[in-house]
């Protein structure tokens, strides 16, 4: 049946689909055998994961002396990866919560997978502080639990402890938000599945039946969770930035860090969402759901955050000069012209220069070009954390303790392993759960399509 198109708005979902067709399209990858490309991708990611597992085992067995750290540079690769992965997660919450509150209805096509990315990215991030503890089996010591040592409580005035609470709250709330969003879709999947899979999905959907009484509470729950997740996502990277900002290291001790880090996190997160979405829409044939308009919108947010990050870089330099503090000035000259200058240049190129391409509509609507830009931003944001952390540390107040830091192969393998973990989880997610929020897409299916009152779904 033909739908007249609105003259003011463009439909969010391409094609002219019925409700059952939406279910069919989104659940199709769950029912059929995975493609060869999926197996190939899984093989690569599991290999990377295994490399990481070996590296982590070695670090725990031998101790973190296997890293390239020294007396001056006590924090480098590990925390760089931690901050990088936490940042990646932020786009998921931004899409699912902040865009929900702003009533950006295009988010429905990408929110499910972006939220999944958040969860996987935070898991990857969590691995690094755990390893850094040296004795991860004592990780529960970071929690204030009644103990026979006094009881000796944790130090609530330490930013590292704030991190523990921020990351674990962020992970828990994101997971719950994601699962609640999945409930209606799990019921749909259960309806289509058979045998053991049907029983599994039916129990996971918690007996969801689409009752209006449940929807009533559910919609309120979703709104409130979005309202809670919004300040949460800003608080998480703010607290991560406190790890640095509350210290007295030149290059770290700065009040601009919280907004600067939050923006960088959203910037890198959107780049990662686009990297994965551009592959996924192609491989899973979701071009009608994740349309060029979606990519265009995400590019605009990426461009905006890139500009804010560029402004933050500029402000840091200006303040270093304006403060008149010789150590601060030196830290920033060393950042541009010191031995690690290529990292700095790479960061400026990837985070400030390359994203300017997104001003062009042609670039924004060419998935290949956006993919290339988003990959470079991923690299650039990793470099940014390395630049902030390592370059600020390696030449500190005492010239006699100046040194260089070089990661060992163990550290590089751990980073590879974290990518392996992330991609393995993401591939499994694409295979076993509906990648797009079915019930939400059905809700926006008729957006900007005038309906002639014709019965639907025939």
């Amino acid at each position: 049946m033909a739908h007249a198109l609105s003259s003011l708005r463009r439909p969010l979902i391409g094609g002219d689909k019925s409700y059952s067709q939406v279910t069919e399209d989104i659940c199709a990858p769950l029912g059929r055998r995975p493609t060869r490309a999926w197996y190939a991708a899984l093989a690569v990611s599991v290999t990377a994961l295994l490399i990481g597992a070996v590296a982590v085992t070695d670090q725990i067995w031998t101790g973190i002396g296997t890293w390239g750290l020294n007396k001056t540079v006590g924090w480098a690769f590990d925390i760089t990866n931690f901050v990088f992965w936490v940042g990646i997660g932020h786009a998921g919450t931004l899409i699912s919560a902040v865009l929900f509150l702003f009533r950006q209805r295009w988010r429905t096509s990408v929110n499910r997978s972006a939220e999944a990315m958040t969860i996987f990215a935070v898991m990857c991030a969590g691995v690094f502080p755990l390893i850094h503890m040296g004795r991860p089996w004592l990780a529960y010591w970071v929690l204030p639990y009644p103990n026979p040592m006094g009881p000796l409580w944790v130090n609530f005035r330490s930013p590292l402890l704030w991190d523990v609470f921020a990351i674990s709250t962020y992970f828990t709330v994101s997971l719950v938000f994601w699962y609640m969003g999945l409930l209606p879709d799990l019921a749909v999947v259960a309806r289509r599945a058979e045998g053991l899979r049907k029983r599994l999905f039916a129990s996971l959907s918690l007996g969801w039946d689409g009752s209006q009484r449940t929807w009533l509470h559910y919609e309120k729950l979703y709104l409130l969770l979005a309202g809670l997740a919004t300040p949460l996502v800003f608080s998480v990277h703010t607290i991560v930035s406190f790890d640095f900002a509350t210290s007295v290291i030149p290059g770290w001790h700065s009040t601009i860090f919280p907004p600067y880090f939050v923006c960088g996190a959203i910037f890198s997160g959107f780049a990662m969402v686009m990297t994965l979405m551009i592959i996924a829409r192609k491989v899973m044939a979701f071009e009608d759901y994740i349309t060029l308009a979606h990519i265009d919108a995400m590019c605009k947010i990426t461009l905006l955050t890139s500009l804010i990050v560029a402004l933050a870089y500029g402000t840091e330099f200006f303040m270093a000069w304006y403060s008149g503090n010789p150590y601060e000035r030196f830290a920033f000259l060393n950042r541009c012209f010191g031995p690690y200058r290529y990292f700095f240049m790479g960061m400026m190129l990837c985070n400030v220069a390359v994203p300017q391409l997104l001003w062009s509509r042609r670039v924004r609507t060419t998935p290949g070009a956006v993919f290339a830009v988003s990959l470079l931003i991923n690299v650039g944001m990793w470099l940014e954390r390395f630049v902030i952390i390592t370059i600020s540390l390696h030449r500190d107040y005492l010239t006699s303790s100046w040194t260089m830091y070089r990661p060992t192969y163990i550290e590089v393998c751990t980073l590879i392993g974290s990518f392996g973990l992330f991609l393995t989880l993401f591939l499994l997610f694409c295979r076993f759960l509906p990648m797009i929020a079915i019930s939400e897409v059905k809700g926006v299916l008729h957006y900007a399509r005038e309906r002639a009152g014709a019965p639907h779904g025939q």
């Binding site: 019925s18 409700y19 059952s20 279910t23 006094g150 009881p151 000796l152 409580w153 130090n155 609530f156 005035r157 930013p159 402890l161 704030w162 609470f165 921020a166 709250t169 828990t172 709330v173 938000f177 609640m180 409930l183 209606p184 019921a187 749909v188 309806r191 039916a202 129990s203 996971l204 959907s205 918690l206 007996g207 039946d209 689409g210 009752s211 209006q212 009484r213 929807w215 009533l216 509470h217 559910y218 309120k220 729950l221 409130l224 969770l225 809670l228 997740a229 300040p231 949460l232 608080s235 406190f242 079915i438 019930s439 939400e440 059905k442 809700g443 309906r451 019965p455 639907h456 025939q458």
Partner: protein, 173 residues
């Protein structure tokens, strides 16, 4: 036999909304509606009260805030004060981040548990009227047959007149 449902299966949100409105005007007892997504306005036609989740969320959040602020203050000022660089034990700004995080955590988790308990959602729950496709692509309006009220035949005729593609008698659970 007193409580039996007559379910009309509709094809679109517009038709079920119109049917619910007509049923409300006709004073027919409505049991519930089952839809693949939240159909806005349908809750009003069914005469459902607004959700009290806002107040629930606030209470859980407030409890979390008070408990974590109180615990941090007690632990770092009275129970085991630690002298770290001579900083004051009860430095209140330092207690803000953890208190904030746990406020959000308590509000979020508390609200979700309240929702699950309120609607009885659990892995063992059997979905109601599952076979009619209310979770997938159909919009199901379930009317209740009460003693002394309209007969099943009348309800059936009403739903058919509203454009239901199928009308099915169901035993209420």
């Amino acid at each position: 036999m007193a409580n039996e449902l007559v379910a009309g299966v509709f094809d679109s949100e517009e038709t079920i909304l119109a049917a619910a409105r007509a049923a409300r005007r006709a004073g027919l007892p409505m049991h519930d509606a089952y839809t693949p997504f939240a159909v806005h306005g349908l809750d009003r036609e069914l005469g459902l009260e607004p959700s009290p989740l806002g107040a629930v969320c606030f209470r859980f959040g407030a409890a979390g805030l008070v408990l974590t602020l109180g615990f941090q203050y007690w632990a770092s000022t009275f129970d085991w004060p630690m002298n770290i660089g001579g900083k004051s034990f009860n430095a209140s700004p330092a207690l803000v981040p953890v208190a904030f995080e746990l406020t959000v955590l308590c509000a979020g988790i508390g609200m979700v548990l309240w929702f699950l308990a309120k609607r009885g959602l659990s892995p063992l729950k059997k979905p109601a009227l599952e076979a009619l496709g209310g979770v997938d692509d159909r919009f199901v309006l379930a009317l209740r047959r009460e003693t002394g009220g309209p007969t099943g035949q009348e309800l059936r005729r009403f739903l058919e007149a509203q454009g239901a593609r199928d009308v099915i008698d169901v035993e209420a659970e």
